[in-house]
């Protein structure tokens, strides 16, 4: 390596951290920073914010495929230059938002977005874009794909994304393993393993730091062992809850299985403090086949839940508010989903989730 090359290879990083946002912000937003008075919802996918100064800004929100190829990114930029003011942002659910200061630009922008295959919507009481993780495309421990599940499901709930048909907004998430990077959602579609890991004992001692793997297990089911004369690990399969927490630090403990890795559906996760306190999602369905390329069984269950919620919930009730009002027995009745022993929490502090009262709806 020449001296110049070596120097280039050792370029010290500029530790600039998180960049200043104001340089990329629409001038009307810069001017009225912290001075907004109210907003209106002129139509699905469009927000109008009005500042105390009288200035207004229109936002057009569009769903994308999240994993953007550079061609699609450039199309989104072209649309922004031609029909908006060249200022965009992304929501935490990977929708793109165009901000413009003239109402007359809203219509043509929507037409252009739709002409190019993007979907305008996802505001107010809609089904928002499903937030998702990496899956088979890029994760090192996935039980399923993420982009594919989301694409297949968004195809099926597209009218709910484009319209205002729901009692309140519905946030959906997917996760490809039981670490659940996808987060909390009104409806979550998550991987649920059903069998203990299959261990390749020849590789364990070379690949895994055994004490950390033992420490990682939430139920202390893993212990060091000699297998075929080699140091390895063994799993007490009666204790094992098949969570897969041992797999990331020890890839020879393969948890993913083409048949026994299933999907589960959870409802009632809500991060907002509006009305009740924030809530975690609860299990409602499991044992759902992990069925690429379009996961029809999981989508059917999600649609069943959405239908029951749409028909029975009151305005402004999120799924968690709705279930709190009608009770779980009615939820299972309305959705037609089975209630099993697996719905009853057996984890630490579980009795707090049991009904310690005579409050029962007959």
């Amino acid at each position: 390596m020449s001296e110049q090359q070596a120097e280039q290879a050792n370029r010290p990083p500029i530790e600039s951290g998180c960049p200043d946002a104001f340089q990329y912000m629409h001038p009307v937003m810069r001017k009225n920073y912290g001075q907004w008075a109210y907003h209106e919802d002129p139509r699905p996918g469009v927000l109008k914010h009005v500042a105390h100064s009288g200035d207004a800004i229109w936002t057009v929100r569009a769903g994308t495929q999240r994993i953007l190829d550079v061609t699609s990114l450039n199309i989104l930029c072209d649309i922004g230059d031609k029909y908006a003011d060249g200022y965009v942002r992304f929501t935490i659910r990977s929708n793109i938002e165009y901000m413009i200061d003239q109402e007359s630009k809203v219509g043509p922008l929507i037409v252009e977005l739709e002409k190019n295959g993007f979907v305008v919507g996802g505001t107010k009481n809609s089904v928002a874009m499903i937030s998702h993780t990496q899956g088979w495309l890029h994760c090192d421990i996935p039980g399923t794909d993420a982009s594919g599940v989301v694409k297949a499901m968004m195809d099926e709930v597209i009218d709910e994304f484009k319209g205002w048909n729901m009692p309140n907004r519905v946030h959906m998430t997917t996760s490809c393993c039981q670490i659940n990077c996808g987060g909390q959602g009104d409806i979550a579609i998550n991987v649920q393993h059903t069998k203990p890991p299959k261990i390749n004992h020849d590789l364990v001692s070379n690949v895994c730091e055994r004490p950390s793997v033992v420490a990682r297990c939430p139920v202390a089911a893993i212990r060091p062992a000699q297998v075929n004369g080699k140091p390895s690990l063994e799993v007490d399969e009666k204790k094992c809850i098949c969570c897969g927490a041992c797999f990331p630090p020890c890839p020879p403990m393969q948890i993913n299985d083409a048949e026994h890795t299933k999907l589960s559906v959870w409802v009632g996760g809500n991060h907002s403090n509006a009305r009740g306190k924030p809530s975690f999602q609860k299990l409602v369905a499991a044992g759902i086949p992990n069925n690429p390329p379009r996961w029809p069984e999981a989508t059917a269950i999600v649609k069943k839940i959405l239908r029951a919620y749409r028909d029975d919930a009151r305005d402004w009730e999120r799924i968690s508010d709705w279930v709190e009002r009608i009770g779980w027995p009615r939820f299972f009745e309305l959705t037609g989903l089975p209630f099993t022993k697996f719905h009853i929490n057996n984890w630490k502090g579980a009795r707090n989730s049991l009904n310690a009262s005579t409050h029962i709806r007959f």
Binding site: E15, Q65, L68, H138, I179, G183, K348
Partner: protein
């Protein structure tokens, strides 16, 4: 490019009205002039099809970094690289977005061009933690791409046991419910911990998230080790003319059913003349009535933040919510910001010292108890921290008199200050 891999299963994901990521990959494969990129796309499609057929993932991690950093790259090496050689190294660079995720189209194009030069041409705005994810680079090009974008203002985010990239909502830039300067808080905190972002040396990950109001649009209570949420402590503002207008448009029944009776602490009452009465003392700032009537109701003037700590997802003890550590804190002056930064530093230092390997801050609090945690970071107890006082008598209480005296003294002091 080698022969195109057949992708019958993935082809099924080109049907339907939602934009298809598979069609995007194929555009790169079939139309991109750069052979390196079209080859990578072909290989990636081949491996993904193989995953769909066998229902298994084929990426493994490793160690890849840029010079001077220990984090920010998610290394991916293919386990089936012989069959799909052009994407056998397919690392992701996590890049910190501007707080609030604002971009100009010019900047997006520039980033896209740099990525076409060195990477796969695939990117995501943004990952679940909040990074721009540039997906698909060889080990060598990781450095080249970083060098190029670092020169024009972009830096890597966190990965591994370190302070992670932060997240804040759209906030004061566009939202009438904003109570704090989300962007300033986000940047002040993150850029105070740049070293801890780039060089993983903590027990596990630590996330900051900032929401401008209790709607908590960035999900900070459930996902952040430290959640900063805007709120106010004086009376909410009521424009009675707008209230009357709203009642007239929507009808009394709608207002009673959707506003008045939905208040979790029964603070609202509709007067006979269709104006609104608010019991502000008992309002918990849940945001529901403001969400329904944004034109009529607004946050008050005495704004600040509530800080909650210890939120996280499933691994390993199960999901935990963040809980209140600072019920209210002004964030106006530079001094206020220093206090916030100091609190964050105290917290991370104490956790770095006392957290077990792979233990999130919330799990440590669970293990050692909130009182020990507060003691460690130098914060006094406050009844806003609990849903209820303890229901168990199995607590040793021989220091009661001192603690009670302390409580009255602190109360005296704070009322003297006010």
């Amino acid at each position: 490019m080698a022969d195109k891999h057949k992708t019958p299963m993935l082809d099924e994901l080109e049907h339907g009205p939602w934009p298809s990521f598979i069609s995007g990959f194929k555009r790169l494969r079939d139309q991109h002039p750069n052979e390196r990129i079209s080859g990578m796309a072909n290989s990636l499609l081949g491996q993904l099809e193989h995953s769909y057929e066998t229902r298994k993932g084929y990426w493994k991690g490793g160690t890849v970094s840029v010079f001077g950093y220990g984090s920010g790259i998610i290394p991916r090496f293919s386990e089936v690289g012989d069959a799909f050689p052009e994407s056998k190294e397919f690392h992701t660079l996590r890049v910190q977005p501007p707080a609030g995720n604002y971009y100009t189209t010019d900047m997006l194009r520039q980033l896209g061009e740099s990525w076409e030069k060195h990477g796969s041409g695939l990117q995501t705005f943004h990952g679940q933690t909040g990074n721009i994810m540039f997906i698909g680079s060889t080990t060598e090009n990781t450095q080249h791409f970083f060098d190029e974008i670092n020169e024009y203002g972009w830096d890597l985010g966190g990965a591994g046991p370190c302070v992670r990239t932060g997240m804040c909502c759209v906030g004061a830039a566009r939202c009438e419910q904003s109570n704090i300067d989300e962007i300033k808080i986000h940047r002040t905190l993150l850029n105070n911990f740049t070293d801890d972002v780039h060089r993983p040396a903590l027990p596990y990950k630590f996330k900051f998230k900032v929401s401008g109001c209790p709607n908590d649009c960035v999900n900070s209570i459930e996902r952040a080790d430290c959640a900063i949420i805007g709120t106010w402590r004086d009376d909410m503002k009521v424009d009675q003319d707008e209230v009357k207008d709203f009642v007239e448009t929507k009808g009394r029944k709608y207002v009673i059913d959707n506003v008045i009776t939905r208040c979790p602490t029964n603070c609202l009452s509709l007067n006979d003349d269709d104006t609104l009465e608010v019991d502000n003392r008992n309002c918990v700032k849940c945001m529901h009535c403001l969400n329904v009537m944004p034109k009529a109701l607004s946050p008050g003037d005495d704004k600040g933040a509530t800080i909650l700590m210890g939120g996280k997802r499933t691994l390993k003890v199960g999901d935990l919510m963040g809980t209140v550590i600072i019920p209210f804190m002004k964030l106006d002056t530079e001094e206020d910001y220093e206090k916030l930064t100091e609190l964050a530093e105290e917290t991370i230092d104490f956790w770095a010292e006392n957290g077990l390997e792979h233990e999130r801050c919330g799990e440590m609090i669970e293990r050692i108890g909130l009182v020990n945690f507060l003691d460690g970071i130098g914060v006094d107890v406050d009844p806003n921290m609990v849903a209820d006082p303890t229901t168990s008598s199995y607590v040793r209480m021989d220091g009661w008199d001192d603690e009670a005296e302390k409580w009255f003294k602190d109360k005296l002091q704070s009322s003297a200050k006010a």
